[in-house]
Subunit: 149 residues, 4 copies
């Protein structure tokens, strides 16, 4: 991954903590791949009929994490309300998927790996969320600080 290098070479100010940002992007990217692979692995299991909810949660989580990594990679932070809403959706998707995968972790090693990827991503997103500006202040000031153009 070139995430940290790209952040260092960014030609404008970044209003978020770069280390927390890089961790969240990398965790979301890794989680999205793990969820895509876990869904496919579940489809190859003899007990696939018992894993349909896990597959759906994998697919949702893969999509939400992919979008989160993209929104965060446009790390301009113009509108903290959007960053916050996307990161919150990612935390929810990862929590839901980790719980589903966790039910299969003992007999499906790939579910154990995917559960860990989800929990890591949720933790990285929570750490990033904690240092974003508080909800009451979030919408206006970053927009004001970043005039159109």
């Amino acid at each position: 991954m070139h995430t940290t290098t790209m952040l260092e070479q960014y030609p404008a100010e970044i209003t978020m903590d770069r280390e927390l940002l890089a961790r969240a992007i990398d965790a979301a990217v890794a989680c999205s791949q793990a969820c895509t692979a876990c869904a496919d692995a579940c489809l190859s299991e003899p007990d696939v009929a018992q894993t349909t909810r896990c597959i759906r949660d994998d697919l949702d989580c893969a999509d939400v994490c992919a979008t989160t990594s993209r929104v965060l990679s446009r790390h301009t932070g113009y509108d903290a309300r959007l960053t916050r809403a996307v990161v919150q959706a990612c935390i929810q998707a990862c929590g839901t998927c980790a719980d589903s995968c966790g039910e299969h972790r003992d007999h499906h090693p790939h579910c154990a790996t995917c559960e860990q990827a989800c929990r890591d991503c949720a933790a990285a997103c929570k750490a990033l969320l904690a240092q974003l500006v508080p909800e009451g202040d979030g919408g206006g000031s970053p927009q004001a600080a970043a005039p159109q153009g």
Copy 2:
């Protein structure tokens, strides 16, 4: 779009209102395409340096709407908390992008079209959100109602 037909042919129960669901999916799909095209059109404008924020908001909104349409197309409603978080992020992305496009609507017709697509999608998502179970009840009961497998 085959959204309504696919919903009618769905072999299991859908816990959400099918008409509101179909409208939200179609609006998110249309908005995602309009935002992708608007970003590209802005890049072809002579005043591209004045539209960089609009381009970014277009790209964020395109990604968030695409993921929203996918999560809603897996209309199983297992976990209302995830549906709600994703739809809320979509409403925010559409609102942010509509405001950005709105600043250019008078001299960029494609921004006027995209603003409308964003406002339509936000409205469809709000209508869907309003009939989802309330936040306090949301997480537990749909999961309980949909046992693993």
Copy 3:
């Protein structure tokens, strides 16, 4: 969908036939949604263990069609080689998925709908491909005709 309007409001030249382009974009968008919904519907079928290949082909086709609709929505045609390669991948994904869905069309109505969406998208992509510049000429001239900037 706002595809045709956005094409009419595009501020630069478009080197492809706009009607064929709009049809291909709309067909790819509709197919991507149908495939996502079909995969989810298959997961709800009692015979899910017999539809795992259909689900995978649905998921691949949904992703390839989504990317195709985005690349075509950036309808600048700078590099005809990329457009051609992406459209060819889309035709292949749709053909593969249509064949898989076709095997289930008699007992899964959603597979019949999805098969049709795939065949429509493949046809729209083939019509667009046929009017792109021939392979031998394609790479160089569009790039030469579109100087950097």
Copy 4:
């Protein structure tokens, strides 16, 4: 990234070389992120009007690489024709984007990083493509080897 672990824990046969497959997935994921970040960085450059083609190529490459990483993460190899078509599109997208970024590498460090990510991804995809079954044999035999279900 958990790519290699997920491949090791896959419960079915994988017809492709696992090491080449993991490298291609990881390179595509890294390239997609770099392209997304490079497009955003270009939008923050004072000479944005001279980088519009680079931004478009970044966006196309980000989408194609994301889809490639997903199709390869469903590493079932049912239909080698689809894998081949997607990997070929990825090689083309990476080549086009690397050339565009290369024109800016001297004054935009992020373009130099992105160019390298594109060239690495193209190389990993070419190595994978070289060991896929030849075009004439590709369609039939993998399908025959993977009966429905």
